[in-house]
Assembly symmetry: C2
Homo-oligomer: 229 residues x 2
Amino acid sequence: MQIVSPLERSAITSSDRVLFEIQRAIVEGNIAAGCKISEPELAKRFNVSRAPLREALARLERCHLIERIPNAGARVVTLSPEGLISLYQIREELEGLACRLAAEQMPDSEIEDLRELLDKHLETQRVREGESYYQEAGDLDFHYRIILGSKNQYLINMLCDELYYLVRMYRVQMGMNGPRVSRAFDEHKAIINAIANRDGELADLLMRRHIGASRKNIELRLQTEKETS
Amino acid sequence: MQIVSPLERSAITSSDRVLFEIQRAIVEGNIAAGCKISEPELAKRFNVSRAPLREALARLERCHLIERIPNAGARVVTLSPEGLISLYQIREELEGLACRLAAEQMPDSEIEDLRELLDKHLETQRVREGESYYQEAGDLDFHYRIILGSKNQYLINMLCDELYYLVRMYRVQMGMNGPRVSRAFDEHKAIINAIANRDGELADLLMRRHIGASRKNIELRLQTEKETS
DNA sequence: CCAAATTAGATTGTCGACAATTTATCTTAT
DNA sequence: ATAAGATAAATTGTCGACAATCTAATTTGG
């Protein structure tokens, strides 16, 4: 399945196209984590010159998917449990804020659309019980819409353009299928209700808990892994 | 005075050099807000080819100093009071988090260094009463160190590499000389004390108030400006 | 046989020119 | 005279080649 999302919007330039392809390859693990990136090789592989490729690499660095060292080259990031926790700590704060702002800024129509989206997810989930990939896409979609609803341009940029690719990469490659599916739905419902009631404070709290629960889950898992090793 | 800071670290490549120069020119207003950016002109002005210049532009977009539209060109961002408020909302959350983490992660030696820095600022300020520029640099320096102390790589990246240039641009161009100088020192002292006591919760709260006070100041000023116009 | 220095190879950074797209100007028709 | 369309100028995106830097293999000295 392909996540269309606000990302693959307008692949006008050939630099965009390459960016999307490499981005996807890294997120899905087709370009392995930690592996060195060869500009000539990738340029040949995607049938472009090095100029647009290098621009794509600059943008990949921006969303934390690769790390570059001047005159030395680039590597795909290596994932670590600590990094994932760092990421979730930030998401707790920023998405909590997004909820508070969304409660003030989202027009009723958008809230209604989001409610319909949730119902649609529920149906889909009933049909495909346990299929986590849909849930992930749906979960991301839910978070996306609230972030967009905050109408804070910097917030939107940071979360949607710079952090979410990493979140997806972690989920795909470390088998993070998020919080338990049915519980997540309930939490989503509660959040959208708070936003609809224009109760920003509550929406903030619920979102922090929602993400915080995932984070604590990861910390717990990390703990037990250390004990058994 | 020049803010050395963790930014102008190693201008190895010529793309770096151009980036720093343009960054500074935009922040200080030598390249006016809202004005169109001509690649050939800037390339000639800084004696480089368009290749490194374009890489610099990509990084300027990353720290929100310019906005690019594919096939159409780039413009220096136009500042708005609403944008500044959006920025401070995010800073409240992220720097609050930074304080909480710093209270856990900063080694005693770093805390001691920061204390000494504060004392040095106090002396400087006594000598140059009312000179706000030093205060700004000192204020930024204080915030910088705490962010670095959080040891959260994503947080450091977002705040120090992506948001602070904008903050500085707003301060310089909209005459934001931050909170009142002596009061800011007291607040800084209280924050570092909380961190030294390993009281992350309190440090978080104090930092949110510290930044929130600035934000409310701006909102108030924006309000009165609207009334008088 | 190991370590340091030197050389060879490969990779990144930079340049100037060309192609594609957009913006501005000019023509033309209503 | 105004608006729509066509043409011209300028700007952005892309390409291939060269220069500077880093990585590695080889040589040389201890």
